[in-house]
């Protein structure tokens, strides 16, 4: 089973994890251990230190084709961001094909007033945006409002919690075909089969959250799930590959 992980990071943060992955070499080694071919990567500096520093750290990955870069933003009103167009140009120049945001930790609202200019450009270029659920201050309420305002935004929701997502995420999956959920903690017994049965596999992306979580957790669950092979492959790699290929630059 080919695996493309939509959410891995590296770098030392301020609070030690049980096991750290500090360098690209360590990250590649663990990806090899788990059988993960490629990954969308971010540096922990982007979250814990400063978004721009984290973006710059990823320059060291440009020559490693197994790594696909993301770029983190804050509102274009913030002096560190020259303009929404400037952010998009920087993404294009860096070869990044996905964006990230951490609104709670970085103290802004991911809504039309604060981020409308950037969000409109992400929509225009079909750039996926990855945001952890707990980075929305009002969690699912904010996700619902964001999609209501930007219904064609390619939103990949990560770290949705180990239980209780279904009653929140299913209506969104039904209404917004570009809403995606990453698998980090989709771990209820039978949940994956149920989602695939009711919605198809196309809105579910393999994402481990390494080094926060063991990739093996979902890899084993996906490998042994009672779903068609085509669905398994879509979740494992096909969906994220499709999304990245749709980016218009």
């Amino acid at each position: 089973m080919k695996l493309f992980d939509c959410d891995v990071s590296y770098g030392r943060g301020c609070v030690a994890l049980p096991k750290e992955i500090e360098t690209p070499a360590c990250l590649l080694a663990e990806m090899d251990h788990c059988g993960i071919s490629e990954a969308l990567v971010w540096h922990r500096d982007a979250f814990e230190r400063d978004f721009a520093s984290g973006n710059c750290r990823l320059d060291e990955l440009r020559d490693t084709p197994r790594f696909h870069l993301t770029r983190t933003f804050v509102p274009a009103e913030s002096p560190e961001v020259p303009s929404a167009e400037g952010f998009i140009d920087a993404m294009r120049t860096a070869g990044a094909r996905a964006a990230r945001a951490f609104p709670a930790h970085h103290c802004f609202l991911l809504n039309r007033v604060a981020c409308g200019s950037i969000l409109e450009l992400l929509v225009a270029h079909s750039v996926p945006l990855l945001v952890p659920l707990n980075e929305f201050p009002r969690q699912w309420i904010d996700v619902y409002e964001l999609l209501e305002n930007f219904p064609t935004l390619t939103l990949i929701l990560t770290f949705t919690g180990p239980w209780g997502q279904d009653r929140y995420c299913r209506p969104l999956m039904r209404k917004y075909e570009r809403f995606y959920i990453a698998t980090h903690q989709l771990k209820t017994a039978g949940q994956l089969e149920g989602l695939v049965n009711d919605f198809g596999p196309h809105q579910i992306l393999f994402g481990s959250g390494l080094p926060r979580y063991y990739p093996g957790a979902f890899i084993m669950a996906l490998a042994r799930a009672d779903i068609p092979s085509a669905a398994r492959d879509a979740i494992a790699h096909g969906n994220i590959e499709r999304l990245l290929s749709e980016v218009t630059w």
Partner: protein, 267 residues
Amino acid sequence: MVTLRERFLAGSGCPVIDTHCHLGPFCGFHMPEASLESMVAGMERRGLESIVLSPHSALCGDTREGNREMLDAVERYPGRVYGYCTLNPNFPEDIDGEMDAYLDHPGVVGIKIHPAMHAHPVDGPNYEPVWRRANERELMLLCHTWGKSGGCGAIDMRSVAEKYPQVRLLLGHSCHGAWEGAIAIARDFPNVYLELTASDYFYGMLEWMCRDAGSEKVVYGTDYPWFDPNSTIGCVTYAHISEDDMQNILYRNARRLLDEQLASTKD
């Protein structure tokens, strides 16, 4: 040589025993495999030899009804489904009677308590008869544990481990978040075990537990049907630990605990 991980990926690895399961629906979300029949079918698909359960009805509703549901499950699937007698400290008048009714049944292997859900500290007065009985009879006792303190955290659990050293104590969730404390308790007390539910998937956790407490002190558990047992099998078999450690965690430790318990019930 085919690794244990590869064998699981191919369909069957080694036997697995899940020491922390539930049964029935839960208010917070839909569980596709909540019924007993779907759980047993799920066990077949995943290669689980046995589970030990306490129903949601016992934890969240009338514990007496829940224990009856537990016994029904145990009697319908002897040797596959074992049960914990759940005890609710909010109704202390029921505790001795419930223990008398269930602890001598061959399929009931111990006690389940949930100090957080039942809002009574683990070393509170209403749990005292539970600890005394469990200590006298060297019973398995699965206790929900979480954090450093607050009634069922690492500090609280160390206190009961010291006071009741004969209890075969499973730290449910391994004091989630206070793992250093939990691992120390498992290292320091011969009858205390780290139960994996909800603590399993943190990268590096299995390596840490094995290194500092020993894989003989770690038991597989998943909260099934909350969580997919395959997910925890994946955490264990993808961790950087030996296959000996993996088999201890997935099966051998629980098998030993159950066999010791079943032998003492027979006596």
